[in-house]
Subunit: 123 residues, 2 copies
């Protein structure tokens, strides 16, 4: 009940586009989701992506994704001091959206390409 | 040639997702596109949308969209002191992307709805 109230309080409207952008409407969040669509990741793995995300931005965006139940953070079975990040079912459904963004980009922005393993026609 | 150089200079990578987010990765740009998918708009029309965009943000985002050739600004034939904004062909192709965002939102964010006239299955 409290959760629903909190969510409504920060909504700009009840438009599905606006509410989704409240979660993923920035330059970094969907790049983290893009990386996670290829499989679970350690924190350091994201830092190796070519865009060069800063650690404080990565940390903030991963926390927000976990709060939204889009990403799950779990201790690594082989080293419990480390954590792995993976998409929840809800987060994995962002794949279609990331695919639509990739498809628009590769069609309309010359010189761009779709990262290996990413399916722009994902359902 | 100069334009291509400029574009490459600000790209974070050649990933189609990253380059698209460099253009539309914020909380407002795709709400402007959402409104334009329903037809041409005057500047003041955007201010009536329920999210309450501020005039300075609207002005900056519209300018950026025009610079990217996603939106066309033309004098209104009935009053040439006013301008209308409409999507270019390239901008209209963002409709599928906005549709994917709307579809994710309405499925995964309780209490949200798809704005009347917006087609989440747009091709």
């Amino acid at each position: 009940m409290r959760r629903a109230k909190k969510t409504n309080a920060v909504r700009r409207s009840n438009c599905a586009v606006a509410c989704t952008l409240d979660i993923i409407g920035d330059r970094w969040t969907l790049l983290i989701v893009r990386d996670l669509l290829l499989g679970p990741r350690y924190f350091d793995d994201f830092l190796k992506s070519p865009e060069g995300i800063a650690t404080n931005i990565l940390s903030a965006r991963l926390s927000a994704l976990c709060e939204q139940s889009l990403v799950e953070k779990t201790p690594d079975p082989s080293d419990r001091r480390r954590h792995t990040y993976q998409l929840s079912d809800r987060g994995r459904r962002l794949g279609k959206l990331v695919g639509a963004i990739a498809a628009w980009g590769v069609t309309n922005l010359p010189g761009t390409k779709i990262m290996s393993g990413l399916d722009p026609n994902r359902k």
